[in-house]
């Protein structure tokens, strides 16, 4: 029998309710992390790298050896050497510093897009799966229209229509994330809403809002987390592609995609260090998030292996 929500469970006469034993939040999270590390050390390692990249982005001004926008006119288009470990671009900007600052743009966009898009999609999927009926049918059609575009193409069109900028890139990528969140969460909700504990809560007179928020939503958190980490990687690649195609965050802001696009404009043959390092940064970041996501999925819900 599934555990009933303690607040809606009927008190049994004569038996005093057991005092709630709750570990402190910090210890629960710590224990969870420890458990995660033990069960999939490989993912935990890559999770640490993901955290390191986030910290690097946050502390970019402290770590970066140079100002990413400032030109060093004595060292222009130099291959890597001590002093500029990743070399300099054609107007003498330090590639290492630009790669470090590039993490800021990429992660801001990726996290922003996932927070907006995947969350909006998930809430939409929750509502459409829960209510069903006409609302669900119309929602499914709209989601299908959105899904008829390969995501990069939709993002390009939206970014171009809205004009270049950090916020517009976030919106463009967020919109491409909506249908995925909607689809996955809806299917989870469809099976959840037939569960007995939901029936029981409904029988006790819980309102729609309460049923959705207290009984169904908590069960959606695992699939949502899995989806969100997977989407972070996708969002980073889309952001880089948009930058590469010139519809991302406008220069001179250093982003990995912009740097790769710049390298093509550097001359007939792009200098190898201007190509190699930003791309490596993208690859390592996306790999870290993907493997972290895989680990989270394995720990939280192995059944979703094929769903996401």
């Amino acid at each position: 029998m599934t555990a009933l929500d303690p607040e809606t469970a009927l008190p049994v006469e004569g038996v005093p309710p057991a005092p709630p034993r709750r570990r402190s939040i910090a210890r629960r999270i710590g224990g969870g992390l420890w458990n995660f590390g033990r069960r999939s050390p490989f993912s935990a390692f890559w999770g640490c790298i993901a955290v390191a990249i986030i910290l690097m982005a946050a502390a970019a001004p402290l770590i970066a050896p140079y100002d990413p926008l400032k030109s060093d006119f004595r060292n222009m288009a130099k291959p890597p050497f001590p002093g500029h470990y990743f070399g300099t671009d054609q107007i003498g900007r330090d590639t290492l510093s630009r790669v470090i600052y590039g993490a800021r743009a990429s992660l801001t966009v990726a996290i922003g897009a996932v927070l907006f898009g995947t969350t909006l999609g998930a809430l939409w999927g929750l509502a459409s799966g829960y209510f069903g009926g006409r609302f669900d049918i119309i929602s499914q059609r709209i989601i299908e229209f959105l899904q008829s575009f390969p995501d990069l193409i939709l993002a390009m069109a939206i970014a171009m229509a809205l004009g270049a900028g950090l916020d517009t890139v976030i919106i463009a990528i967020a919109i491409t994330r909506i249908p995925f969140g909607g689809r996955v969460i809806r299917s989870v909700v469809l099976s959840l809403k037939e569960m007995q504990y939901v029936e029981a809560a409904r029988g006790l007179g819980a309102s729609h809002l309460r049923l959705m928020a207290r009984h169904i939503l908590p069960q959606c958190i695992a699939p949502f987390l899995i989806l969100a980490t997977a989407h972070l990687g996708v969002a980073i690649i889309i952001e880089a592609s948009l930058g590469f195609l010139g519809v991302g965050i406008p220069p001179p802001t250093p982003t990995w995609g912009n740097m790769l696009a710049d390298s093509l404009n550097a001359g007939l043959v792009p200098p190898w260090w201007l190509v190699l390092f930003p791309g490596l940064a993208i690859t390592i970041t996306v790999l870290a998030f993907n493997l972290l996501g895989d680990g989270i999925r394995d720990v939280l819900d192995p059944r979703l292996r094929s769903a996401v």
Binding site: M160, I237, A240, G279, S306
Partner: protein, 318 residues
């Protein structure tokens, strides 16, 4: 079967209409003046009020939105797809000239993804958690993280560095100059194909692992078939159904992915046209190309669904 196909086609037609509305809404109605998109923010502020109105009239942008939409639908129906804002060529001519290159790239990429992905998946699934399995899983997850266009740039650089080789830049048609054509197409196709192979390998592996546990596979083993025959005749055909579906979705990724990849290789295909349209802020070309890509994507997915239904009676009779 026929009812299934007809129903699928009807839904497909509805989707195409929906897609056209979404494209129109995104590129024409979203906040963002088309003149700003064409002239850029600085250019726009330099235009006088009268000039703006004149341009809007000339472009047919001052008519009611419904009229604009219907005119666009008329353009599509007449097969001309309207005109580029900057070039003499109509969009239809551009598609006819550049489309085949991109189509070739996509086709080779899909074939390659199967040729590489399926054997890797079979090796993985036969010995789960073995060394070979772990290596192939890591390589495939690595390929999911590598941006295709970056890999393309690296390949171009490496070929130039070590072999002094550069693919011909001019477009060559398959029937006039097959060798030159292949040289242009092969790079993007390999990059996109490998990226897809990673998805295919992952999907095929998990699907094979599920199928191998089925009763009919055990029966085949029990009646004495050797391992290879069990896999190739009994397990693989059933495991491939979800892979075919995935392949349809991945074709969309190839079409989209070919935009930056064609830019990286400098291949004059439709993806490069899309890149040009974006950098020139050519809303009209963009609108038609986005619509075209989406329609191709929808049609391909219908084809995949029908293929699946043809292969698997369970879906047909549902």
């Amino acid at each position: 079967m026929y009812t299934y196909v007809i129903r699928r086609l009807a839904f497909g037609a509805l989707t195409v209409v929906g897609v056209s509305i979404v494209v129109f809404l995104v590129l024409r109605v979203l906040p963002g003046d088309p003149l700003v998109a064409i002239f850029g923010p600085e250019g726009f502020t330099k235009l006088s009020e009268a000039e703006r109105a004149g341009y809007m009239d000339q472009l047919g942008l001052s008519d009611p939105l419904v009229v604009q939409y219907l005119r666009w639908v008329g353009d599509i129906a007449s097969g001309s797809f309207g005109r580029s804002f900057f070039r003499a060529e109509s969009v239809a001519e551009m598609i006819a000239r550049r489309g085949p290159l991109t189509a070739e790239i996509a086709l080779i990429a899909v074939v390659l993804s199967w040729v590489v992905g399926i054997p890797v998946a079979v090796v993985s699934a036969l010995r789960p958690n073995s060394m070979a399995d772990n290596v192939s899983r890591f390589v495939s997850i690595l390929f999911l993280a590598v941006p295709g266009f970056w890999l393309g740039m690296l390949i171009v650089l490496a070929l130039l560095f070590w072999f002094g080789y550069r693919a011909p830049l001019a477009g060559a048609a398959l029937w006039n100059d097959p060798v030159g054509n292949l040289q242009i197409v092969i790079g993007p196709a390999v990059v996109l194909g490998l990226g897809q192979a990673a998805y295919i390998a992952r999907m095929a592996r998990s699907s094979l692992l599920e199928v191998i546990r089925e009763d009919y596979v055990r029966t085949a083993r029990a009646k004495g078939l050797n391992g290879r025959r069990v896999i190739s005749r009994h397990a693989l055909p059933n495991a491939l159904l979800p892979v075919i579906t995935l392949s349809g979705v991945l074709l969309g990724f190839v079409l989209a992915g070919s935009i930056p990849v064609e830019r990286a290789f400098g291949v004059p295909g439709l993806g490069y046209a899309m890149f040009t349209a974006v950098s020139e802020r050519d809303v009209f070309v963009m609108q038609n190309l986005v619509f075209l890509y989406a329609v191709v994507f929808v049609v391909l997915n219908i084809l995949v669904d029908v293929t699946i239904a043809w292969l698997d009676p369970r879906i047909r009779y549902r």
